[in-house]
Point group: D2
Chain length 368, copies 4
């Protein structure tokens, strides 16, 4: 029986390498790009277990839940970890990073999440990169929630390990992910006796057996369909233009923020500074007395496909998150989300002004 | 280069025949089902050119634009055509059909559109079928916009030629379509010297070369991907249950109608009787002084993917159509559509009550 | 339930038009290209019913079964038809066409099949075109089995209606097909009162409602998946290079011919002149006393996926056809086909030299 | 732009769980089945790192290259490893396993590869399981190359960790893979302080957060397309019947072996005992004086898609491997492979009898 997802000719090494090159081009990077055959957590874990070891000292910037995961991995590797935890309503600053590095000159690894979909903020990576480079530590960036939505320039910013996934602003698959690796990072990993080797977690395996082998033989059978989807999504971005894609996300973010403020009813932007708001998701503080997860449940009752979600874990009562990435980076999705939130707020007895919200969206993001 | 849409193993005759059987089962029909390799206009044209000829007399019920197309085809075939044109705000009745048949006993062909997505009404085919059968004419039904959304029983209703497409309530592809053909219809076509033969329009070719040949060799290479998509959509309907699918469309229709009335602002159901309203689309009359196509343009400015469309042709100034079929047969799509219409009406200075609309939807179609 | 063939965003008119442009570019044509939503028989029938009428005189070159179909359509339109039937083991010559035109100066329509997959020959269209142009008749070409396999230049050759399908050398879908239409052809169709209008067969509908309407609205919902597959196959051809694709088919043809001759056992090329052999398929004459369809059945017993088929209809006893188009235009497919034929011939008691066949293939088509 | 691999609705947890259940049913297992989001090396590594720790003692049966990998992982975990290495031309016996367990009563973990595609043998897992169960050690089985090709009954055989991938006999995707986990194994992993936790390698994460959480929330975004392909391939197996699929592989194996022997020219089965030959691949010893990798290169020159490959690593000069799994488990693929090998052997001056090979295949595996 014929099926479009089965019996495809195997993905050749040359085709795999061509997809790598297109991803590298999307990142404007001259570094090696490795496409790992799993969700972005796989290269993130691979970077940390490859970069840290007993004796390492790591500065781990925590601006959301992934930072906590990174800290755990770092400690698991035997590194001394300095968590720089920033309240979720704000981004970290380069000054804060610089101060921490000054206090702990032994730090040799810095981990940062670029944009935080979970908390709605985005960190000033260009400036942080300058500070980290001056210090000399290896710099790992989780850019899953920023790639495609805002500028991401690992080479220019001095990022040594830059991990991306296609499932957010790129509108692509989640089952494979990529990491760009600087020469400095390769050296560091190679010198680390406890870095994963001959392991699904290993970046070095890809270096030694794939890259250094001339990209002739893959380490194992790839996730072919996810690779083809990654290629298709990069093609689509090339057709729209990366700048246009980023502009669309930026507009969605501004419009959601402005619309939520105009909607009223007690909603407030969770991230205080507009410049620190992530282009992929806008987080909002629920009005006092209203449980955010109940509010979201009510707002989704009519259309479960709306990109609304309550905050995770401890934030579930107070934070509402409006996603606006990929196919949801449109005025329509923004308006539908605000409309559903407004209706749900009304049911909680909050007074909202849907008309004002709509006007604010239109003024912030005029339709063409 | 590998691509999931290319280099598939050819669709075998046995697989093609298996898809036919599943479609027949969806229609609860024992008649032959022919899957034609084009949009539903192809079998519709094939039915009329096969069933009519100089000397034929046809009763053509016009409840929307397709009825006009059918009349033109019938006249083109040299048939005497009696158009029974019904105002677009109402369905035809079996009495009207019966009266027309009584006035013109020579009528030997009756063409009816079941549900009209374009005008939002649905015709009482079970009752019409009884009248047509009593008279003895061949009965052709265009059921593209009803299949999957409301009961459709060609055998029980005495439909001789029942044409369906998968692109509306079935949520499937438009590039292939099907027609069930009664034994009576096959005889009629075979006896018609001007029926298409050895032609892309020909039903008889499928009878003689495919069905009578034991379904061993297709007439030509099929539209394989559309066939696979048709199979996948029938599988999905079997999984959801045809009754559940129909209930979802019926609820969407009632909720849209109730919500639009509650919204106010001068909107009115276009189809006067609720029983005559089609489950796939609700048509609304724009408030006086408001151009429907301008209203729809405004409502779509924010989200062009909403299932809203102005009436076609002469109706473009007065009719707004809310589609609610397939993936749009959800409470969320209904509410988003009404919300966008409400916002657009406000901009035209009409007073609307979004809250009342939402309440009406919720009462008509409670969320589970 | 998620399925990659369902719930796709509708194919936009702009996307459809972009696919048209890529197909036009593949044909190096400045003419309008119409992509019809059915197998290539649909535009072929549309061309003939649009171009012919009572009073027309047509020269119909019959070099295979499709020519017979064209003749029937032409007669059906009321045209006077002059069939120029050429034995299946040879191509037509421009001289033969010129002589027929000289004998019947009233001829205003000429139909030719470029390459004949069914009989394995290919006709000298460039030269024929010159003759037809000098005469002034409208020139229709069926290029389904040549496009992608050998040069096809409708503008340079003066072809007025050039019909292609993607299912042979292009390695694409069969469910949509294309026709390039010259300005002269549009005039002829427009002036023909019996040309199909408001019909699935109508080219004029596409002209008037799609092209002249600025390609803004499609005539009906397209066969979306087939369109996407057509786009993907054109992309793949662009990546391989059209010249490389044609060279691959040409080599497959030469190698099959040489290999079959070297194989011996009584096999002979069906098409006498090597220059007249089609690049998509090689036809062979079975040894005397051996039934071709039995031979093919035996050869396919072990691998039913081999591109072997007995001749159609009256040729079934004497002709064996080796297809070598699309994914089968490879040395491996050629060798496997010859190997299976050789083994089957042995079973019939014919003496074959498999080694010589292999050597002949290798010398004709050296591996890279 | 529309693309069938992008913008799919997210795979729901319920759908994911339904795929798990179908995989469990394919294995006739009541154990928990975890579908891990990577190639089968991922769950294999997860099983070993979860099951072994400093203080463990492992019996590692090495019948091919994967056994070496497992040994390295086991040592990496700090376990005492007893490698039971069997020559590649034979399977291990239950007696050998039993003897090793008797010698080392401290052994608490046994790892075995069921079928070895790389060496062409298959091990008697039912009998081994009995011995391991009597001893009490945890029993891990790599069944990637056996599932779908020969009986695989983890519950009946006492396999505690049974890892499968769909890319061989199942004809499915390689990008996701599954492991069935016995209650005993869960206890062992939970009690292991060094088992991976909060890691891409962790089976326990799936237990604690997915299974024990009621299968309501996935650990991270899945490789959706690979999951859909896995579902499609299981559906296809259900349609063909698992028994029929296994019979097809068994016949392919017998026919390849018999055909190679009959072909002669110095080829010999690599695996001495026919009962120990794997149904997915037949390994052959090259004639003395002929380099296997050169022979394979020559055999593939004409058709690089044939399922032939030289042995890996040290075996590259002496071993030829004929794969016959998935779409290649057909008589045609077997014959084409033997034909190509025969032709290549001729070029090396070896005398082969292609006709005898063909006859042997036909007698071993009669066409239907």
């Amino acid at each position: 029986m014929t099926h479009p997802l089965l019996d495809l000719a195997p993905l050749t090494a040359a085709h795999f390498a061509a997809i790598e090159r297109r991803v590298a081009s999307l990142l404007s990077t001259e570094q090696d790009v490795v496409i790992m055959q799993g969700e972005a957590l796989l290269p993130l874990e691979g970077c940390i277990r490859g970069g840290a070891r007993p004796g390492s000292a790591a500065l781990n910037v925590v601006t959301g839940p992934y930072g906590q995961t990174f800290g755990n991995w770092l400690r698991d590797c035997g590194a001394a970890v300095f968590d720089l935890t920033v309240p979720f309503h704000t981004a970290v600053t380069a000054e804060q990073v610089g101060r921490a590095l000054d206090e702990h000159p032994e730090i040799d690894f810095v981990s940062v999440v670029h944009a935080e979909a979970a908390t709605g903020n985005t960190n000033p990576v260009a400036e942080i990169g300058e500070v980290v480079r001056a210090h000399g530590a290896l710099f790992m960036l989780d850019a899953v929630a920023s790639v495609g939505a805002e500028p991401l320039l690992p080479d220019e910013w001095g990022v040594d390990l830059c991990v991306i996934g296609a499932q957010k602003a790129m509108g692509g698959p989640a089952g494979v992910s990529a990491v760009s690796v600087s020469a400095r990072a390769w050296e560091r990993l190679a010198a680390n006796p406890s870095a994963p080797r001959r392991s699904y977690l290993s970046l070095l395996d890809w270096k030694e057996r794939w890259i250094d082998g001339g990209r002739r033989a893959l380490l194992h059978a790839p996730a072919q369909l996810e690779m083809l989807a990654l290629e298709a999504c990069v093609e689509r971005i090339e057709a729209e233009g990366l700048d246009a894609l980023m502009a669309r996300h930026s507009a969605a973010s501004s419009a959601t923020r402005a619309g939520a403020v105009a909607l009223g009813g007690g909603l407030e932007p969770y991230v205080l500074g507009a410049r620190e708001a992530a282009p992929v998701a806008t987080t909002l503080r629920a009005p006092s007395g209203v449980d955010a997860s109940e509010l979201v449940a009510k707002a989704l009752a009519d259309d479960p496909s709306l990109p609304l979600i309550a905050g995770g874990g401890a934030l579930s009562k107070e934070m509402i998150r409006v996603n606006h990435y990929g196919v949801d980076a449109t005025r329509g999705a923004v308006l539908s989300s605000l409309g559903a939130l407004g209706a749900a707020l009304s049911e909680f007895g909050c007074h909202v002004d849907l008309e004002a919200a709509r006007t604010a969206v239109s003024e912030t993001w005029p339709s063409e």
